[in-house]
Structures are given as C-alpha cells and as structure tokens.
C-alpha cells in the first residue's frame, strides 16, 4: 500500500433508534432473501438488513470474490431458546432427555441448531454476496466492533483484500437476554451497523468516501449506553459510527 493511499468508508447500513431506523417487515422483505428468512432469528435479521443497506451503496461485484473479506461481531448465541421448551421434560427434578430428540410431534426443527450458531450471519452474508476472502466473527464484549474494524482496515493495508465489510449487530430485548444480570443493569436495546471499506485509489467507478474513517481509542461506550441503551456486541461500532455521523453533520 502506498503512503498516499487511504482507507475510506464507501457504504453504510444502519438500524438504530437514535437515527429513527428500526427493523420493519418492509426492510426485512427488501433485504432478506426468502431462503434465509426462516433460518434467521431476529438478531440475525438485523445484521442481514444492515448489510443489505450497505451493499446497495457500492457495486461489490466490481471486485473478484476472493478479494472480498468480512469481519463482523455477533452475539454468542442467536437462537430463540423458547423453541426448545416444548421438547423439555423433567423426571424426578432432573432433565429427562429420553425423548428430547424426537418428542412426539414436536421434533426439534433441524433449523434450530443452525439458527443457534453465532457464525450464521457471517456465513449467510458470505454466501449471498459471494465473499470468498477472509471471514472472521467476534463474539465477546461491547468493544469487539473495534477489533473487527481494525482487522478490516489491516486486511486492506496488507493487500489481503480489496474490499472489506465490517459489521456488528445485537439485540438484547428478548425475554431471556433481559434476564441476564448484565442487561438488567442497563437499558436494553438493539442495533446493527455495517460498513464497506475500500482503498482510496480503487479504480471502482463511483468510488466516494462518505465518512472520514478514524478510530477513537478512547471511545467511552458507557456514555453511548446511557444515552441510547445497551446494544451488546454492537455497542462500540454503533458509538463510533455515531461519532463519525456527528462530526459529518457539524
């Protein structure tokens, strides 16, 4: 990479109430393929819609599939556990698994396990957008969006890819997630943000930076959470995006 090259943000997809953008059935219909609909729990739908919004801002097919890479943050489980409950039974106060796998007419949906994998979204996105380069998925704390963004930038700097997709999404508004102690202490929220990163010297027609890319190493996610609620693993990237957006609008 030459010294005068820059990494620029050329596409953004976002769903967050701070911008008045929420997941609606119209957005789902527009951006989620029919084959993925049944497979996707709500949290995955957030990611797929934000990715769809970002992808329509550039012609990703300009780049060969092996030059496209993706780095995202998703929650450590995405399945809706309620689906399992009809299959549970207890014997002498212990979980009875005798018929768990095939309990009468409520055999567990084979899609349930796939839905529970935290790499579901990254797999669906790489399939739908023919991303054959590096793919990596983080599932840790609020700051993992920073890790994903740094890796996206580095993959471009190291010439491992020509376009990098960076994203984060989470939803902690469901019953079970709200029961988690860490969430009880905060306002619970949900959101998704996806970014398309390219090099400033790309020959792609229509290339245009829409935000100045910088990483705020001292970004205080607590301020964001206090103002807008806890978005789990998507918090850091949403807060960083909020900064870029604020600066742009000044």
């Amino acid at each position: 990479m030459n010294i005068d090259e820059k990494i620029i943000i050329t596409g953004v997809g976002i769903i967050h109430h701070s911008l008045g953008l929420q997941l609606t059935s119209d957005l789902e219909k527009k951006y989620i393929a029919k084959k993925d609909f049944k497979l996707s729990p709500r949290v995955t739908k957030l990611g797929l819609v934000a990715m769809g919004m970002a992808a329509e801002m550039i012609n990703i097919n300009f780049y060969p599939p092996e030059d496209r890479s993706i780095f995202i943050c998703s929650p450590s489980t995405t399945s809706e556990l309620e689906e399992l409950f009809p299959s549970f039974s207890y014997l002498n106060d212990k979980l009875d698994l005798k018929d768990y796998y095939t309990r009468g007419g409520v055999k567990i949906n084979p899609l349930w396990f796939i839905r529970s994998l935290s790499n579901l979204a990254i797999a669906l996105i790489s399939i739908n957008y023919n991303i054959e380069g590096v793919s990596c998925n983080w599932s840790d704390n609020a700051i993992c969006g920073k890790h994903a963004l740094e890796e996206g930038i580095k993959s471009l700097i190291r010439n491992e890819s020509k376009v990098a997709i960076v994203g984060a999404f989470d939803s902690i508004i469901s019953l079970y997630q709200q029961k988690e102690k860490i969430c009880l202490e905060n306002k619970n929220s949900e959101g998704a943000v996806f970014l398309i990163l390219e090099k400033s010297n790309s020959k792609r027609p229509g290339l245009k930076a829409i935000y100045d890319l910088f990483i705020d190493n001292n970004l205080n996610t607590n301020n964001f959470i206090n103002e807008y609620g806890n978005c789990g693993v998507a918090t850091w990237l949403l807060a960083q995006f909020h900064n870029w957006n604020t600066i742009k609008n000044i």
Partner: protein, 455 residues
C-alpha cells in the same frame, strides 16, 4: 523487513491442554503416538446425560479423575466444564512459559456457544429463577473475567487492563485456529511497529487457544439433526475413522488448549525454551452453503495456498499436513481434493523435472480425530499442540482406524499415514494445520521446527 529476519519471528514458548488423552502435553502426545486407549482416552457411551434415545450417543470424554482433580483445585473460582478446561490449560501454559505473573499483549480465544451452560437454561426453564441464568446465556466475557481474575489474582486491575485486549472468535470448528492466526498477526504487526519506532520487543507475547465442553444436549442434538455424528454406538473405539471407506460421521470430544506466542527476540532475551515457530497463516471462505462445504474444496485449497504464500514457503517444502479430517464423508473427501489441488500440481512438476515419484514428494497426512474426537472450537489449538510436538519429537501419530482408504480419495494418490505411528527416520521441518468450519470458513496455519538456537 522480511519474514526470515529473526527480529520478526514469532515462536511458541508455552503450551497447556486438557483433552481426551490427558491433562499433560507430553503424556497426551505419547498416548496419541502409542495409540493407548486406556486409561486416559475415554471414548465411550455418554454417561453425563441419558442420551440413549439419540441416534449417536458416544463421545471422547476428558477422564473423570482429571475433572475431579481440576474441580478440587479450582473450586473457588469456577464451576462449568468450559471454565475448568480453559483455566487448567491457561495456567499450565503460563507456568510452562514461565510468564505466569506477567500480562500478555493480547488474548485470542476460539469459543462457541458451548460457553453457554445448558444446565442453567434448563434450571431457569424449570424454576424461573433469574439467578440460574447467570453466566448462562451470553457472557463469554464473564467467564473470562473469572478466569483472568484467578490467574492474575495478585494484580487487582488485571481484568480492566486486559478486557480491551481479549478477543473471542466464534467461527465454529475453525475458531481456535483463527485465534492463533490473529494472535500471530497482531504480534507480528506490533513487532514491525516497534522496530520502526526503535522500541524494544521484550515482553511481547500473546495467548491464543480455545475451549469447548461439547458433550451436552445442545451440541448432540444439533449435530444429530444435521446427521453429522457417527452412529457406530456399539463400537465407540472404531467410530471415528478419518479418510476410511467406512466412516459415517464424527464423534464429539471436549477439552481446551492454550499456546503462548512470543517474539523470538523476547524469548531469546529471557532464555525461554522454544517449541516451534509459526511462519504463516491463510484463510478463505467457501461462499457455498451453510452446512455443506464446497464439494471440490475450493475455499480450503485457497486457504492452504494463502497460508503458503503468507509464509513464503513452497508446497514442496511441506513435510506433514495435519488434516481437519473429521471422519465425515464430505469433509474428508473435500479436504483430500483441496490438498491434491495444492500439492499434486506442484509435485507433478517436480516429478517431470527431478524424476521423483509423487508420493516421495507429497507431504504425509494424518488426522488426530480418531483418538480425541472433534473438539469443535478447540480442535484447532489442541491439534496444533500435537503438531508442534511432532515437529519437536519427529514423530507423527497414526491415522488410527484407517483400514481401507475411501475409494474416491485413493484415486488422488495422496500420502496418508497408515494406522501405525511413524516414530523414526523422519525429517519434518514444515507442518501445516488445517481447520474448516460450518459456514465455509477455512483456516490454515504453518509451523516450522525450531532448533532452539538464539542467535
């Protein structure tokens, strides 16, 4: 700065693991080489839950005595198997590297939703007690907090100092391999950055690995639904048989592994023992199907090629490939095709020019999964540890249960290790480790033998 510049080298200076072959690296590796199924290798019917109604109900367990020992040792800190496996492996690796009280530059762990305690979810379902959900749903960070606070208990600020450096990677079966790859790259980038600024690279080291407690209803149900597990319930020892004609799926395993990566200069300056060098990594995605790998191993082949390119090593220099080799029909076939794509075109060229036979130039291939099962997110690191031991001892474990090579794989004329370990006349310098995951994430790592000479 080239990769061969000693100043940029990354070496392994510590390892720790608990797996179905034991809780000590050397004895686990000896069990792997010798094929000792007893007393430690516990492949048997699952007893922790009653899974008898499931189509597959066998698994490779960590020995119960080892678990009891760990529970007694760490009882004040943690409770779930995931925690125990991780804590034991991390503490062992830190002691092994003599870095126990120091803080790492970065931590990368491969982990799956196995971090979730199913028992707690069931308890919540039964009782409705919110407390029973603690640590159960979505807080791998909470798990790490307890582990970190136990390991670095003398440093009251350890978690706040480390929390921004912890990366948990969820990439299914490729999780811990990706964790090692990114830890390596992060260290490498930091070495270059510090060298440019004229700063010291002393005390520059990282923790990488993974943990899994997969023998639970979540994984057994899930993989059963996908038809991925072996149904050879009546003969558990023969169930996991990578590349064999009669393979019918994988057998779940459990455990954890941690390796300490360190700048070569830092290791030399403190007189650390050096197990091996990491020289590169590569990754690629299939972009094919959620549960099916690309039938021709397209993404897998590109991951291997990218790894060799990253390491600046030719295919002909590779002596040994530790395959992902799960014992499923699809994985073993596609992986063989991927290896053939990368290594046979090269060896055929060699054959023409150097009149060497293909097999003489093809790297030896084996999978460890017939002896430890599939450790999902932890498989990459535990198998990498055994690969590093192979480089160190010049011994390659057998492909146990490989009695008759799959007829389609046989046509590819690859160089599989038989069902006896190779323990003499080896000269392995470069060893490749593959990991492929649901969703089409493919990662490869390349290790190089170390002569432990600090110059």
């Amino acid at each position: 700065m080239s990769r061969n510049d000693n100043g940029c080298k990354i070496v392994i200076t510590g390892m720790g693991s608990v797996n179905p072959l034991g809780d000590l690296i050397d004895s686990s590796f000896n069990n792997l080489i010798n094929g000792d199924l007893y007393p430690l290798n516990q492949v048997d019917k699952i007893k922790r839950f009653d899974f008898s109604s499931f189509p597959s109900h066998i698994a490779f367990h960590v020995n119960d005595e080892i678990i009891s020992r760990m529970q007694n040792k760490y009882f004040s800190a943690i409770s779930t198997l995931n925690d125990l496996f991780l804590l034991h492996s991390l503490e062992t690796a830190l002691i092994d590297s003599n870095l126990k009280n120091r803080l790492p530059y970065v931590i990368y762990l491969g982990a799956e939703s196995g971090l979730i305690s199913y028992e707690n979810i069931f308890r919540y379902y039964k009782t409705g007690e919110v407390d029973s959900l603690s640590y159960s749903l979505r807080s791998p960070n909470e798990l790490l907090k307890r582990v970190v606070e136990y390991i670095w208990k003398d440093n009251k600020n350890s978690f706040s100092e480390l929390s921004k450096k912890i990366n948990i990677i969820s990439l299914a079966c490729a999780g811990s391999t990706a964790a090692i790859a990114y830890a390596y790259q992060k260290l490498k980038d930091e070495i270059i950055y510090r060298k440019i600024r004229g700063e010291s690279v002393n005390n520059l080291w990282a923790i990488a690995g993974g943990t899994i407690a997969a023998i639970n209803p979540h994984f057994l149900t899930g993989f059963s639904l996908l038809g991925a597990l072996s149904k050879k319930n009546d003969n558990p020892k023969l169930a996991s048989r990578p590349f064999d004609q009669n393979r019918d799926g994988f057998v779940l395993g459990e455990g954890a592994g941690i390796i300490i990566l360190e700048s070569y200069e830092s290791a030399c300056n403190r007189g650390a023992k050096i197990y091996a060098e990491i020289v590169g990594w590569g990754a690629a995605s299939d972009a094919h199907k959620m549960t099916d790998p690309h039938p021709e191993g397209k993404g897998a082949a590109r991951a291997i090629k990218n790894c060799l390119k990253n390491a600046q090593v030719m295919p002909t220099q590779i002596d040994y490939i530790n395959a992902h080799g799960t014992s499923t029909y699809q994985n073993d076939l596609l992986e063989s095709k991927a290896i053939a794509q990368v290594f046979q075109s090269q060896s055929q060229t060699q054959t023409q020019t150097q009149t060497q036979t293909q097999n003489e130039k093809s790297p030896l291939i084996s999978s460890h999964k017939s002896m430890i099962g599939h450790l999902i997110a932890a498989s990459g690191v535990v198998e990498s540890i055994f690969v590093i031991k192979s480089l160190q001892t010049q011994k390659i474990p057998a492909n146990y249960n490989l009695n008759k090579l799959d007829s389609e794989i046989e046509k590819l004329n690859l160089n599989f290790v038989g069902n006896k370990s190779i323990t003499s006349n080896l000269n392995i310098k470069y060893a490749l480790k593959n990991s492929f995951a649901f969703g089409g994430h493919n990662y490869s790592l390349l290790f190089k033998r170390s002569c432990n000479e600090c110059k």
